[in-house]
Subunit: 227 residues, 2 copies
C-alpha cells in the first residue's frame, strides 16, 4: 500500500521557485493498476521518482506498506527499491558498459542471486520482451525501442510486488506495445500493483484507475479502489 | 533531393553479422513529407542517421542534391549537416552543460550567427515549442517531453531545407504532439522536405508519403512524388 500526504517537490532556481509537485494526496492499494496521465512537464516523472524511492519530496509524507519512507536508513531504502519495486525509467538508464542481459541481471546481483540462476532468470525476461538474439549487445548496439525493452525486463527481473513504469512504450511500435501491455496485464492478474505513466489513452484504458496530473497536482482520479 | 542506391549497414559482432540495413533504394524529392514506420529494431534510426549524414553506410551510394555524400570532405559534410539538415534524434542528444536556449542556439553559433541574433532566433523556437519559461533550465532540469521539444527547436533553429525527425513526439502528450505536428505542417507548406519516423499511425497520416521498413529493407512505399 502506498500513502502520500501533502507531497511537494520544489526546485529553487536563483530567486525563482519551480513547484514540480504542489501538494499530492494519494492512496494506492495493493493490486491496483493505475495509469498516470497529464501534459508534458506536469510532474508525472517527479511523482514516480518519489513513489519509487529514487527521490525525496521537499515536504510531505510517504508511507509504503506502513513505513514512513523518509525515516528509512539508506540500506533499508536500497533494499526496498531492490526487492519491492521494479522501476522503468523514462530515459531507460541502462549501464552503458554492460550488455543487455547483464543490465537485466543487475537487480538479481544486488539481491544476492547466484550466477547461473541470475543468467537463467535474466534470459527469461530478455526473451519475454522479444530480445533473445540481442542479449549480448551493448546498449549502444541496440535500437531505441530495444533499449526500452531491456529497461522493462530489468524492472521485472527481481519479481517485484510493485511495478512503476514511466512511459514504457513511448519508443515502441504497435506490436511491441501490445506485447508489453500483455506482460503488465499478466503481472497485474498475479496480484501485483502496477503504476504506469502514459500519454496514450489506449494504454491508460488498460488500467482500472486513471489519474490526471496538471501543474503538480492531481486534478482527476477515477476507478479508485478497483483491483 | 535524396537518392539512395543499394544502401547497406552491416555490423560485425565477433563472427556474426547484423544487417541493420540490407539494401535500400530510395528517392525523396524536394518538398515531400514522408513518414517512416516499422517494428522496433527494423532499421529506421540507422536509415535516418545515414540520411542525416551522421553515419556512413557499409556499402551503397547516397546522393544529396546531386553530390555523392561519401565523396564530401569532413568540412563539406559538417556544412551540409549544419545548413541543409535539421535533425531530431530519438534520444535527443542535448549537451548537458548548456541551457535549453543555448542548446537551441548551437547550430546558429556554428553557422557564424552573431550573439544577439542567435539569442533572438533561439528564443523564437523555444517559444514556438512552448518552453519560454524553461529557456534557462539545464537538460537535467527538464522533463522528458521538454527535452524532446528542445531537441526539436534546435533542429529548426538554422532554418534548414530538410528536416529529419526520429520519433519526435514519443514522449509528448496529445496537446504538445498536435502543436509539434502543426509546426511540421507549416514548414512543409513553406516547401521544406520533412522525413519523420513514427510508430503512431495518426502521425504518419499527416505525411503524404508512407514508407514501411522491416528487417532493414523498405517493404512498402505509398504516395511517392506527392508534394
Ligand atoms: N552498433 C550496433 N551493433 C550491432 N547491431 C546494431 C548496432 N546498432 C544497431 N544495431 C541493430 O540494428 C538494428 C536496427 O537498429 P535501429 O536503431 O535502426 O532500429 P529502429 O528501427 O530505429 O528501432 P526502434 O523503433 O526501436 O527505434 C537493431 O536490430 C539493432 O539491434
Ligand atoms: N532539477 C529541476 N530543476 C528545476 N525544475 C525542474 C527540475 N526537474 C524537473 N523540473 C521541472 O518540473 C516539472 C515537472 O517535471 P516532470 O519531469 O515531473 O514532468 P513530466 O510530467 O514527467 O513531463 P513529461 O511528460 O514531459 O515527461 C517540469 O516543468 C520541469 O521543468
Ligand atoms: Mg516524464
Ligand atoms: Mg529508432
Amino acid at each position: 500500500t502506498i500513502e502520500l500526504r501533502g507531497i511537494k517537490k520544489i526546485y529553487k532556481m536563483g530567486d525563482q521557485e519551480v513547484a514540480a509537485l504542489a501538494g499530492i494526496d494519494l492512496d494506492i492499494h495493493k493490486g491496483e493498476f493505475a495509469a498516470l496521465m497529464g501534459p508534458s512537464g506536469s510532474g508525472k516523472s517527479t511523482l514516480m521518482n518519489i513513489l519509487g524511492c529514487l527521490d525525496r519530496p521537499t515536504t510531505g509524507s510517504y508511507k509504503l506498506d506502513g513505513s514512513e519512507v523518509s525515516h528509512l536508513t539508506d540500506d533499508e531504502l536500497a533494499y526496498t527499491r531492490n526487492r519491492k519495486i521494479g522501476f522503468v525509467f523514462q530515459n531507460f538508464n541502462l549501464l552503458s558498459k554492460l550488455s543487455a542481459v547483464d543490465n537485466v541481471a543487475l537487480p538479481l546481483l544486488y539481491a544476492g542471486v547466484g550466477r547461473s540462476e541470475r543468467t537463467q532468470r535474466a534470459m527469461h525476461f530478455i526473451e519475454a520482451v522479444g530480445l533473445g538474439p540481442r542479449a549480448d549487445h551493448m546498449p549502444s548496439e541496440l535500437s531505441g525501442g530495444q533499449r526500452q525493452r531491456v529497461a522493462i525486463a530489468r524492472a521485472l527481473a527481481n519479481d517485484p510486488k510493485i511495478i512503476m513504469a514511466d512511459e514504457p512504450t513511448g519508443n515502441l511500435d504497435t506490436k511491441s506495445t501490445h506485447e508489453i501491455m500483455e506482460i503488465f496485464e499478466d503481472l497485474h492478474a498475479q496480484g501485483r500493483t502496477i503504476i504506469l505513466v502514459t500519454h496514450e489513452p489506449e494504454i491508460a484504458a488498460c488500467a482500472s484507475r486513471q489519474l490526471l496530473v496538471r501543474d503538480g497536482i492531481i486534478t482527476r482520479d477515477e476507478g479508485r479502489g478497483v483491483v
